[in-house]
């Protein structure tokens, strides 16, 4: 039993180390963003808000932040709509070619972003849609729709299979049932999907970089700064980006988990 306890302690320390590795870059980035040294090391330099002052004074960063906001909000709405439609079709209907139909939405995240970026760039140039904000939005909704689809599909799985029929039986047409039963039931998952797709879109840099043209988003600005030099501004922007995307992911998870609090079936 003693050996068992020792093993548990060792495993506990090991898990803690893994978490340290995973969160170290996030935490250090935040620390560095308040550190006066240009090349941060141990011991740390003095506390400063210089880097934040710098980014706040930079109109390019403001513009990029606005672009990022527009892109992630629009992407979230489009991707969640597409994800909902597909999740519902999959839940409700059996039809021919359902396998390929589902592959259509589920495949994009398995293809490396650099390849999607090249393909999107070439295609948007071909059809004359490249270099616009909406090019990024379209590309991002292709990439993020499967995340929304997954959370909404999981929610539909928890629905009593009789619930929809029960609404028809009480005089609701299919459309009324969608509005008064399916959508209210899926509401937490819909919010979860909105936040999750917004978070993915907010952090995506490869595809944005290729198709954005002059309309840079925050990750693209970071990429360009990083390419040049070590500039602690990146840590300040990064901290900002982290806080926003972490908030979105945590919100998504709270909505995702909230349905487990309420009883699922009557």
């Amino acid at each position: 039993m003693n050996a068992n306890r020792t093993l548990n302690v060792i495993l506990g320390i090991y898990v803690a180390l893994i978490f340290a590795f995973v969160f170290a870059p996030i935490i250090f980035s935040m620390i560095f963003s308040f550190n006066s040294q240009r090349f941060p090391t141990i011991p740390l330099g003095s506390f400063t808000t210089e880097w934040y002052a710098k980014i706040l004074a930079d109109p390019d960063i403001w513009e990029a932040a606005l672009n990022s906001l527009i892109v992630s909000c629009s992407t979230a709405v489009i991707a969640t709509f597409l994800g909902f439609c597909t999740a519902y079709s999959d839940y409700r209907y059996n039809f021919r070619f359902k396998g390929p139909y589902l592959a259509l939405i589920l495949l994009p995240p398995t293809i490396p972003l650099i390849i999607m970026a090249l393909a999107m760039l070439a295609w948007f140039s071909k059809i004359g849609m490249s270099g616009q904000i909406y090019s990024i939005i379209i590309a991002h909704s292709v990439l993020t729709a499967p995340f929304a689809m997954a959370v909404i599909r999981l929610r539909l799985n928890q629905m009593d299979p009789d619930l929809e029929s029960a609404a028809w039986n009480l005089g609701g047409s299919e459309w009324a049932t969608m509005r008064h039963v399916i959508i209210p039931f899926c509401k937490p998952a819909i919010f979860s999907g909105l936040f999750l797709t917004a978070a993915v879109s907010f952090d995506e840099f490869a595809v944005s970089w290729f198709v954005s043209g002059l309309n840079k988003t925050l990750p693209v600005i970071i990429l360009e700064i990083v390419q040049g030099n070590i500039d602690p501004q990146v840590n300040a922007i990064g901290t900002f980006v982290f806080l926003i995307s972490m908030t979105l992911v945590v919100l998504a998870q709270i909505f995702f988990a909230s349905r487990q609090m309420k009883s699922i079936r009557p």
Binding site: F21, T41, L121, A122, A139, L196, A206, V226, G238, F242
Partner: protein, 287 residues
């Protein structure tokens, strides 16, 4: 079992079915197919013209640097996969079998967060931490060691890959192992199986499918990532994604980038299919 009414296709059904078909055909299938077509186009005077020539393919596939890059990418992504699987396993094992249900949920909750936060900023953070005068060398310096060169090495690249893949691999391994029927493990122990042998003989075979899927994801992510090899590996030896980047951004040679991209996709599909076939293969003698 009663089923949903099987009615003929109506407006309602189509409303939910069609949007994704239209959207993905125009903005997903279209780009991918166009990229394939583009690999046969010609570039003259920095302008792309539509054609059907194999010149990009023969040029790329006959170049030594392409194949060097190809095998290096396969190699480094494989090393990353093995590392991630091995590093994650003890943690996943602990979370699946030694931790309480709620600890496990919290751990997964925390591990999901980095997956959806900026990989770019995390990589930059590693860049600063690992540099010659960075945090780690600073720490080691206080006890009289180092400085060690960690950036612009394979080690640097692997740190980047681990940043990208480790949280996902830990989650997938944990979920897979947590779903194993615990009584099977107790039965094995009861029949005299030693703890380490239990892992090899019982736990790994039972979670084979999930483990292979975790490995496939890890390989796909590492194989397709250009940030870690570029910033932390210094692109000493360019990986395929860096090749695509260089060819597209500086050389204007989109068709040749397309060739590289298609070779990458082909490799990934082959590995994914092989992995899935392995994962779902029936054991010999199993009914």
């Amino acid at each position: 079992m009663p089923t949903k009414p099987a009615r003929t296709i109506n407006l309602y059904a189509l409303t939910w079915r069609l949007p994704i078909i239209f959207w993905q055909f125009i903005f997903f299938v279209g780009p991918v197919l166009f990229m394939v077509a583009m690999s046969f186009f010609l570039v003259k005077n920095y302008r792309m013209t539509e054609a059907f020539e194999f010149v990009n393919w023969s040029k790329m596939l006959s170049r030594g640097y392409f194949w060097d890059s190809y095998w290096y990418t396969v190699f480094i992504a494989s090393v990353a996969t093995v590392c991630a699987m091995c590093i994650a396993f003890p943690a996943a094992f602990a979370l699946a079998f030694r931790a309480s249900e709620s600890t496990r949920r919290w751990a997964i909750f925390l591990l999901i967060i980095p997956f959806f936060t900026s990989y770019l900023v995390r990589t930059f953070s590693w860049f600063v931490i690992l540099s010659e005068s960075g945090v780690i060398n600073g720490l080691l310096g206080t006890i009289g060691l180092g400085p060690y060169t960690m950036l612009n090495t394979n080690f640097g690249t692997l740190v980047g890959y681990m940043t990208l893949t480790l949280p996902l691999v830990v989650i997938l391994q944990t979920v897979t192992m947590a779903n194993i029927d615990k009584t099977l493990i107790e039965a094995a122990r009861n029949l005299g199986c030693k703890p380490l042998a239990t892992i090899w003989q019982v736990i790994i075979p039972l979670s084979k499918t999930g483990l292979i899927i975790a490995a496939i994801f890890c390989f796909i992510l590492s194989f397709g990532d250009f940030v870690a090899p570029f910033y932390l590996g210094g692109s000493q030896e360019p990986t395929l994604p860096i090749l695509i980047l260089d060819t597209t951004k500086s050389g204007q040679q989109w068709p040749r980038a397309a060739v590289v991209a298609i070779m990458m996709m082909g490799t990934l599909f082959a590995i994914a299919f092989a992995g899935i076939a392995l994962a779902y293969r029936k054991r010999k003698g199993a009914k």
